[in-house]
Symmetry: C2
Subunit: 327 residues, 2 copies
Amino acid sequence: MLDEIYIESMIKKRFPLKSKRFSTEIGDDSAICKIKDNQIVVSCDSLVENIHFTRKKFTPEEISSRSLAVAVSDISAMGAIPMFFLNSLFLPRGITKKFVTRLFSGFKKTSKKFKISLIGGNISRSDSLIIDVTVIGELKKNKYKERGKCTNGDFIYVSGNIGDASLGLHILNKKRNNLQNIEERKLVAKYKNPNPKIKLGEFLGQLDYVSSMIDITDGLSIDLSRLINLNKNKLGAKVIWENIPKSKIAIKKPYEKHVEQYVLHGGDDYELMFTVNRKFYQKFERLAKIRKFRIFRIGEVVNGSKIILEMGGKNKILKPDGFIHKF
Amino acid sequence: MLDEIYIESMIKKRFPLKSKRFSTEIGDDSAICKIKDNQIVVSCDSLVENIHFTRKKFTPEEISSRSLAVAVSDISAMGAIPMFFLNSLFLPRGITKKFVTRLFSGFKKTSKKFKISLIGGNISRSDSLIIDVTVIGELKKNKYKERGKCTNGDFIYVSGNIGDASLGLHILNKKRNNLQNIEERKLVAKYKNPNPKIKLGEFLGQLDYVSSMIDITDGLSIDLSRLINLNKNKLGAKVIWENIPKSKIAIKKPYEKHVEQYVLHGGDDYELMFTVNRKFYQKFERLAKIRKFRIFRIGEVVNGSKIILEMGGKNKILKPDGFIHKF
């Protein structure tokens, strides 16, 4: 029978004490971690069965890996470096040893990829499978990026295709695996295995002319309204539809009908969106090119508390809308 | 209708940015906190509806307050000082604005009492109400206490009555509020509103002759086996029943029949249990008296991988047993 003692010993085998930065062993009351600076960055995020995933459509490795990726993305959105994580697991009755072991295989593989260490966690029973991940990061030279610090005229950038994950989710729900073509599979993978922009986040965090930053989790329009602090700062934005990077498949049949929905209001892309002081945008774009970071200028911050979308030369007002938890 | 936007604005009103140590506002991707030292202490703990509490028996304030207390207790069990916390809420459909507001009243009141700051969190929908709390603490002079660092001959102490919370839970489940007498109500309160030993933890964390420490969460016997690292260190313990502090009501009718179960294997007391190098025990007890800390010497660490319980002058072997999550 599966119990927390089995899980603890399985974790200890898989995550042996290695790092000099983490001096206690897993299993004590708390974890002690060494940090370089006198500031830390902390965030938590969670995945809930039947809300964010189903066990039918996701492997255990994909579930844990995704839970870690989405939490890490919040640290990168601050321009910080993710270092440590804790995972709280809520397991329904009847879950197998194999399932839990595979969850931890996902944590192991993904934490290695992200270069972060598991330092603690907690296990409880519950009605459905839930993973809550807390990530702790460090700042480099005490610098970080917040939302709402941009000013009129700043250019707005994103780090990659928008809408792919949302379209991937649509495909995942509609088509069986064996009916998906290669391009469709890529979109499904982008939804299932988000790739937080850790290196880019760290890079942008150090540039003083990057004025604001966020990661796109709930949808471009709603996250843009958060980035510029739409209601508070009396700032708005103008975004050019044609400049938003999207995958080719999204603008073809049968997906082109809903492409605006996916790109403007679909979430889960975990791309970074940020603003750059326009005096420095050429310098910034040159530097990004040298460093081989993909960045796309999609619009600019303007005065007036609204978001304008230019599409085919015509302007329309874009209302912030995206994924909001309702109870 | 209740949604996460309402909750976020309610939290911002209740937890305004105040502390110099927490420089970002609630609502950004991550929290930035200033810390004094280059080490941090981190732990997470959670409460699950129908496993750890029911909405029938607990007020919303009691649920959130308890979730914070149990997580804080882990930091105190390391001899560290709790500083910041994040709360992940999982809310079932149909939960009311009033209920969530009262949850945050509990967080507010208890965080003030514990002198810790809310720095972040997350909200998701789920099948049942779950609160997952992560607490971050600081060390004083880089000192901390772990489990399993004691040696043969060390004395074992606890910080208060053992079994009270477990008996309180029993009373809570058996008797309606209006049938409980004053003493019974105190036990129920100890279960519902655990009082982590924050000041004592900080004090013990600084004493070099305190060799090991843990908080009693799952039961005296099982937590003692963890404190001395029973299976690994070839150490055992001898505990004297009569020296374990317990409330008078526990040894009277009708509770005296099960008193051993409550005291030895009941959990939820959140008292500290720790070991002291016997060379220093008189010095330690004098100092604790001066500082007005309640501490009780209940036994000692011995050689041999077992726990012996002396009761009425007779020895018997005490098997570690307590609350273990099974799936």
